[in-house]
């Protein structure tokens, strides 16, 4: 790696040398070396599966590298020990928060900071120190609140405070903005600025280019496990970073304007009761054929309940759902499928597929009771095999064969398998819930292309996504969900990311507070 012009704000606090990690045949990290300096934000950029999280998990001791070494403040870090990493001042904010929901903020912060065998926890001192830190960095939290009662933004604050409470000097944030609204993201960036001013060094992991440009001083780019480039942020731009990240120009999905068809799906005043607040509150929406309606919102604001209703696994407590003008009275997944609803669920592993069943068994999971797959309760495995072979070929699912266990597939191939299963019946309504989450760019493009093809063919598509870029690229109309309520639909050309962000935080949604 060519040396960068030397204008570093501080000493090297962290040095990774030749880190290599294999998972079976997969080379997740290939001889990665990098330095981190005091008082800087270093962005670690790469698409899903590039090896960013693996690298940071090695740094933090969750994994042990096959080769290479790590130096923190000039000392070698013993491998495989989160404890050692913590003791040397490394703090990590994981993509999936590592908080215990049923415990208080204070409990979560104090955990592991005292000798385990002390006869009594020193809660009073801890409370004082936490208050001081919140004050200093402007990270307001209620120490006695249960984590379960906090918003996502507040939970992230707790995670950062956890690290600061341990006097972290190096802070790693793994995709910290994935679940935040644009405004919460800005607040996070302000916090990071304060931390850096006080001499912390920060590694900011992301695949979002504009955030990397906004927050970092330097950028390193990972691609397929290799460190492919290192740039000063001021000396690069989004286009260059995008190409470095993907290794080729990124195809932009093209949405051709076409006239919408008849109303396919209509929700009128749909409410789903929950414990305490309703999961869905008086939702009305109509989805036409040849149309994609994007649903924006911070996760947990009712998108799950909406998806459950349309998937047929939750029943509205009031309101009406109609498919092609016919009101649905019995909510049942099989019935929804029979009505022509295709469902791409949010969680491929837990909901979309049964990992221990074979590909062919998964492909018939919604249709195993129908001819030609079964007759009089007897399954015709020959017909199933023929069908599976065809889908696997048509949708380019890379696998050892239709009999292989589905859990052995990569995320992208799992999603192709689901697409194949759902699209094979030429659906008229498609519910796509986070269809590209965690996929690499190639697979993302494939999913987008399939959705657009279905739109041209006449399907109405409900696209739930936390990726605002994706939503704005694909949708004809956009709605925002907040606390179980839904905004009025807006045409895509009338919407800006900033505006969406404010609505995602609850502003401008009628009586939504």
């Amino acid at each position: 790696m060519a040396a960068l012009p030397d204008a570093e704000p501080g000493d090297v606090v962290l040095r990774l040398s030749g880190i290599t990690k294999r998972f079976g045949p997969l080379l997740a990290n290939d001889a990665i070396s990098l330095d981190l300096h005091r008082g800087e934000v270093l962005a670690l950029l790469g698409e899903n599966g590039a090896g960013k999280t693996t690298l940071m998990n090695i740094l933090f001791g969750h994994y042990v590298a096959d080769e290479g070494s790590i130096e923190v403040f000039g000392e070698t870090l013993p491998p495989g020990s989160p404890k050692a990493a913590l003791a040397r001042g490394i703090g990590m904010v994981h993509q999936h928060f590592t908080l215990a929901d049923n415990l208080t903020v204070l409990d979560n912060v104090v955990l592991g900071t005292e000798p385990l065998w002390r006869a009594r926890s020193r809660h009073a001192e801890a409370r004082a120190k936490l208050a001081e830190l919140s004050e200093t960095f402007g990270l307001a939290v209620k120490p006695d609140a249960r984590i379960a009662d906090l918003s996502v933004g507040e939970r992230q604050r707790v995670e950062i405070l956890k690290a600061l409470y341990r006097d972290a000097r190096i802070l790693i944030l793994d995709e910290p903005t994935a679940v935040l609204t644009p405004q919460e993201t800005e607040a996070l960036f302000a916090t990071l600025q304060k931390l850096v001013e006080r001499g912390l060094a920060i590694i900011f992991i992301s695949h979002k280019l504009h955030e990397v440009m906004a927050v970092s001083r330097r950028v390193v780019v990972l691609r397929q496990g290799k460190l492919v480039a290192e740039r000063h942020t001021s000396g690069t731009d989004r286009h260059e970073l995008a190409e470095l990240m993907v290794g080729r120009p990124i195809p932009e999905p093209k949405v051709e304007p076409i006239p919408v068809g008849a109303i396919a799906l209509e929700l009128k005043g749909v409410t789903v009761a929950g414990e305490g607040r309703a999961r869905l509150q008086d939702i009305s929406l109509s989805l036409h054929g040849n149309e994609i309606v994007g649903i924006a919102g911070v996760s947990g604001n009712g998108q799950g309940a909406l998806a459950d209703v349309i998937s047929g696994i939750a029943e509205p407590s009031s309101g009406a759902v109609s498919l092609f003008g016919q009101e649905i009275h019995h909510f049942d997944p099989a019935r929804m499928v029979a009505h022509g609803v295709a469902r791409i669920p949010e969680d491929r592993h837990a909901v979309g597929l049964v990992g221990d069943l074979s590909l062919e068994e998964n492909l018939i999971s919604a249709r195993y009771r129908e001819a030609p797959f079964s007759r009089r309760s007897l399954i015709d495995w020959k017909k199933v095999r023929e069908f599976a072979t065809r889908i696997i070929a048509d949708y380019d699912v890379r696998c050892p064969g239709p009999h292989a266990a589905t859990r052995l597939l990569s995320g992208g191939n799992m999603q192709k398998l689901i697409l194949g299963r759902e699209m094979a019946r030429s659906p008229r309504i498609i519910l796509a819930n986070q269809p590209t989450r965690g996929l690499d760019i190639g697979a993302v493009g494939y999913v987008h292309q399939q959705l657009l093809k279905a739109r041209l063919a006449g399907a109405g598509i409900l696209l739930i996504s936390e990726d605002l870029d994706e939503l704005l690229a694909l949708s004809d109309r956009v709605v925002v969900m907040y606390r179980g309520r839904m905004s009025a639909p807006m045409a895509r050309r009338d919407v800006t990311i900033r505006h969406l962000g404010l609505m995602m935080a609850g502003q401008g949604l009628a009586d939504a507070a």
């Binding site: 998972f23 045949p25 998937s311 049942d332 997944p333 019935r335 469902r343 399954i379 052995l408």
Partner: protein, 349 residues
């Protein structure tokens, strides 16, 4: 040392695991025998001779395997769908009770009608007994392990109550035992003058039927899908609760057949010591068979051989016959550990 997920399936483990289980059980047993001051080799020789040494011994092993095939199938069917039915003991007694209720003269029917009728009634009783805990599981999320276990104790007390009251043999000199079943309700012996009876053939048939259900029917498919991932199964539109209920009916029915077969084929009447834990041992049989119905036959014969052999051994060598229970439990734990390696590989460091 750590476990890493395999990226390919490992077929060889399916052969190695049961072998490892057998070997481990013998190793542990050898240690215990040494502790007891006897020679492991002579003990094992006595066990094997006692289980297979003579025609009588071998037929005795098959006789003992018969109820274990039924309870093993019951566990295999339920565990496949992740319905943790530990209540095989109670369901066995439910089948036994129905055999006595219908088979001691209440229905003067010829054998070809009476025997199927008793089997059907027994299966129904066992099936309904498991339906309760299954309903509590699907409806209220109550752990079925604990409820089925507790019901075992309730059922044994219920049988005890019946043997003191409604089903008590008036000619039994006050012993808590029922009347004998009538001739038409007897399962005929397979070998004249020996104890092996038609129940063994029925058990083999039941295993083949379960095999067919698993491999070819939509019900078998549902059980697998629900067992591996109930959330995904429900999302796909598989009626999860109904599939659970059907699984419970089949599993409870199979366990009940163990009771029918023991009473109608072997004992002739119902006593409180009808089952020396066949219900619990069935769990081990199912795990040793890796839940495969045909494997259950082999595993049941192996386990039965251990018990029959140990009984004979303890009479001659004097090492306590509980050694067989230890071996069976060791085999179970080794088996589940070995099965782990179908999914993971051990990586040093």
């Amino acid at each position: 040392m750590r476990l890493e997920p395999r990226t390919e399936s490992a077929r060889s483990i399916w052969v190695i695991a049961p072998l490892a289980a057998v070997v481990a059980s013998f190793v542990v047993a050898a240690l215990l025998v040494l502790l007891g001051g006897a020679s492991p080799l002579s003990v094992f020789a006595a066990v094997i001779k006692g289980a297979t040494g003579t025609q009588f011994a071998f037929l005795e092993t098959l006789t003992r395997a018969t109820p274990l095939i039924f309870t093993g199938l019951a566990a295999a069917v339920a565990f496949r769908a992740k319905l943790w039915n530990i209540g095989g003991e109670a369901q066995l007694y439910a089948g036994a009770i129905m055999t006595i209720v219908l088979g001691t003269g209440a229905l003067p029917l010829p054998a070809p009608i009476l025997i199927p009728l008793i089997m059907a009634a027994g299966m129904l009783a066992g099936a309904l007994l498991l339906l309760g805990p299954t309903f509590l599981k699907t409806r209220f999320g109550v752990d079925e392990v604990v409820t089925t276990l507790l019901l075992n104790f309730v059922m044994v007390l219920f049988v005890s109550m019946l043997l003191d009251g409604a089903l008590k043999d008036p000619m039994g000199l006050g012993w808590p035992q029922s009347k004998k079943v009538i001739e038409a309700a007897h399962l005929p012996k397979l070998v004249h003058g020996k104890r092996l009876h038609l129940g063994f053939v029925i058990a083999i048939g039941a295993a083949l039927v379960v095999w067919f259900i698993n491999a070819r029917t939509t019900f078998g498919y549902e059980m697998r899908a629900v067992g591996f991932n109930p959330r995904a199964a429900r999302f796909a539109g598989i009626p999860v609760n109904w599939a659970m209920a059907k699984t419970a009916l089949l599993s409870g029915g199979l366990a009940a057949l163990a009771g029918v077969s023991e009473v109608a084929g072997l004992k002739g009447n119902l006593t409180l010591d009808l089952s020396p834990g066949f219900g619990y041992t069935g769990i081990v049989v199912a795990m040793l068979a890796m839940l495969h119905p045909v494997g259950v036959i082999a595993a049941a014969i192996f386990v039965a051989a251990m018990f029959v052999g140990a009984d004979a051994m303890s009479r001659t060598v004097g090492v306590p016959n509980y050694i067989a229970n230890v071996m069976v439990a060791t085999a179970l734990l080794t088996m589940v550990t070995a099965m782990l390696f179908t999914r993971f590989r051990l990586k040093l460091r």
